[in-house]
């Protein structure tokens, strides 16, 4: 049963990808399969989470080869939460794309690529082997490259080129780091490395030992869009169709953050005074540069893209603190961020449909004409800024508590100031798009102010409800995050689950 549960989040998107490939020319069938597959992934995520939140960490040795020789799939609470949230976002965005995606893009293979991307994301969350993680990264990136460039056009190709170049550079660095690490420690199984790397550390000069974490920090930092390696993200995320950028905004950078947290809580833990302090500095700078970038923008999706960067800073802050509470807050923050940010991107799609543009200077008056849309924007926007009782408030509260408990007042002050600025730029979107009078310029091309929005608003409302529920039930949800944080901070259980006994 464990063996099945652990691979289902990979097998379901893979089967869906295959079936949608077979149904290439039958669009209705393909759409139905796509939605059913996404729902299946969500169900598998729920089942896995239910299992992991009970007895403990699960592992399965793929192919029956025992760790550390074979590939291990392992799910602790952190992995299970990530798969669950990925399933939720995969389902809601699939629902949204049925109402919005251009039929031409569907005929170019949108649905199969969508599911192969989800397969890569789930695989990355579940694998217990660093080289296998690299492979899942590639599965995810190759699909995302095509999705990013799908349909062509000058603007989209321009964004895709930046995205592809920087991500390929990151993959190369990751591979180089893997080679060096394997040369030193002789294994790439993460649980095995946790012990082996400490042994190797004793006999190596400090320069070599610091270079390796730095290589991983840069490789994953590019993927996570952390300072100063984030510039590819705001340059590319506003070009693809809304559904694609919503999926990317929710999931892709978070896979980078996931990898950072995994590696720096399990393997590179011997030199925290150096590595984790550096991570904290990066976290602070990421928050500040991201939010300042957002303030200077006037396009809906560009503002949101810069906010992704700024929010990545908060997640890394939890990692930099390194305490169980800090890691718990980081886990909570990532989960919260994934559904809130996806929601905001979906709403930007609804606004684009109403106004024909995403340029805030040309939008206006949506509160008067469409109060429901305005209300649904406010929920995730306020959650992102950290207003109680929404999920973002508790995510930030956890981080601040962890920072204060650890005596890191500077980063706490920075995070609170950035929160205010986030609220400022959400207010700006609210004022420009919803509150001010519609500009006089007359009807723009593509604007459909009386479009029927019942179908596209269903996924938006679903995600908004999740934000509210997570905020209202913050106690139990944060309890789960705390247990995940404790598992990350004390990896003995994780190592035992992988190396001892094999599959239970």
């Amino acid at each position: 049963m464990t063996d099945l549960l652990l691979v289902l989040p990979v097998l379901i998107p893979m089967s869906t990808g295959i079936l949608t490939l077979l149904a290439w020319r039958r669009r209705r069938l393909q759409r139905g399969l796509s939605l059913a597959g996404a729902a299946g992934l969500l169900a598998a995520g729920v089942a896995l989470f239910a299992e992991v939140s009970g007895p403990g960490i699960l592992s399965s040795q793929i192919g029956g080869w025992p760790a550390p020789f074979g590939i291990t799939f392992v799910a602790d609470l952190f992995s299970a939460v990530m798969v669950l949230v990925a399933g939720l976002v995969g389902f809601t965005v699939a629902l949204y794309s049925l109402t919005s995606i251009d039929p031409i893009l569907e005929s170019f293979g949108y649905h199969p690529l969508y599911h192969f991307l989800l397969m890569g994301v789930s695989g990355a969350f579940l694998t217990g082997d660093l080289f296998n993680l690299y492979v899942w990264f590639e599965v995810m990136l190759v699909s995302s490259f095509v999705l990013m460039a799908l349909g062509g056009g000058r603007r989209r190709t321009d964004g895709a080129v930046k995205y592809v170049t920087l991500n390929l550079l990151s993959s190369t660095l990751f591979l180089v780091a893997l080679g060096i690490l394997y040369g030193l420690a002789g294994t790439l199984n993460m649980a095995d490395l946790a012990g082996k790397f400490a042994q190797v550390s004793a006999s190596q000069p400090v320069g070599v030992l610091r270079m390796l974490p730095m290589l991983f920090l840069i490789a994953f930092g590019i993927k996570a869009a952390a300072f100063p390696l984030f510039f590819w993200l705001p340059a590319s995320y506003h070009t693809p169709p809304i559904a694609i950028s919503a999926l990317f905004a929710g999931l892709l950078t978070k896979v980078g953050v996931y990898a950072l947290i995994r590696v720096f809580s399990l393997i590179f833990v011997g030199d925290t005074a150096y590595t984790h302090t550096l991570i904290l500095v990066i976290a602070g700078l990421t928050m500040v540069t991201g939010v300042f970038g957002a303030i200077s923008q006037n396009e809906f999706r560009r503002i949101l893209s810069f906010h992704i960067v700024s929010q990545i800073g908060y997640m890394i802050m939890g990692l930099g603190l390194g305490t169980p509470l800090g890691l718990a807050a980081a886990v909570f923050y990532i989960a919260h961020h994934i559904f809130v940010k996806t929601n905001l991107f979906l709403i930007s799609g609804v606004v684009q449909r109403l106004g024909g543009t995403l340029d805030l200077r040309k939008l206006g008056g949506l509160y008067a004409t469409r109060p429901v849309v305005a209300g649904l924007f406010l929920v995730p926007a306020l959650s992102l800024a950290g207003v109680p009782p929404l999920s973002g408030f508790f995510a930030k509260l956890g981080l601040v508590q962890a920072g204060v408990a650890d005596g890191r007042y500077l980063i706490v002050a920075v995070s609170l100031a950035v929160s205010l600025l986030t609220l400022y730029s959400m207010t700006k979107i609210w004022n420009e798009a919803f509150w001010k009078k519609a500009p006089e310029a007359g009807a723009r091309e593509g604007a459909r102010p009386d479009a029927d929005l019942r179908a596209p608003l269903v996924p938006v409302a679903l995600l908004a409800a999740v934000t509210v529920v997570v905020g209202l039930a913050a106690g139990p949800v944060f309890g789960v995050a705390e247990r995940a944080g404790a598992q990350l901070a004390h990896p003995a259980g994780y190592i035992e689950a992988v190396l001892g006994g094999g599959s239970r």
Binding site: D3, L4, V7, M14, L21, I62, G63, G64
Partner: protein, 137 residues
């Protein structure tokens, strides 16, 4: 291309290349070869055919859409892994059985061969999708 020499040569070469690709596929478990290289050889045979007679003729001769080949290959890979799961072992566990061929002796067949066959189909599908599109441009 209308070269008579090439047209005649392709008719002779194609069956040889296709047989060689199957040979590589079956040999691959313990010796150099396998689904990937076998698939490339088979795809190169079809690519040769497409260069000489045109992509349209090659598509007609192939009968199945290369995209379907990709899907079938991935499906075969999935099935070879799922055999392990169904029998209560981890995903992708290699399971073996003997196939008695009478006078030719007993062959050991197992899920790794099925996996390799999936790779073989996928590689042919991917390479031919690309080559046919380029040839038709």
């Amino acid at each position: 291309m209308t070269s008579l020499i090439l047209q005649v040569a392709v008719r002779v070469l194609m069956p040889l290349l296709l047989m060689f690709s199957v040979f590589l596929l079956v040999r691959g478990h313990n010796l150099p070869g396998g689904g990937f290289s076998g698939g490339l050889v088979a795809a190169s045979a079809w690519a040769l055919f497409a260069i000489v007679y045109g992509a349209g003729a090659a598509r007609r001769a192939l009968r199945v859409d290369p995209l379907t080949l990709i899907a079938a290959g991935l499906g075969t890979i999935l099935a070879s892994g799922a055999v392990g799961l169904v029998s209560g072992r981890p995903f992708l566990t290699g399971l073996w059985g003997a196939l008695d061929l009478g006078a030719y002796g007993a062959w050991m067949v197992g899920t790794p061969l099925l996996f390799d066959f999936g790779v073989y189909l996928s590689v042919i599908g991917v390479v031919l999708t690309i080559i046919f599109v380029l040839e038709e441009e």
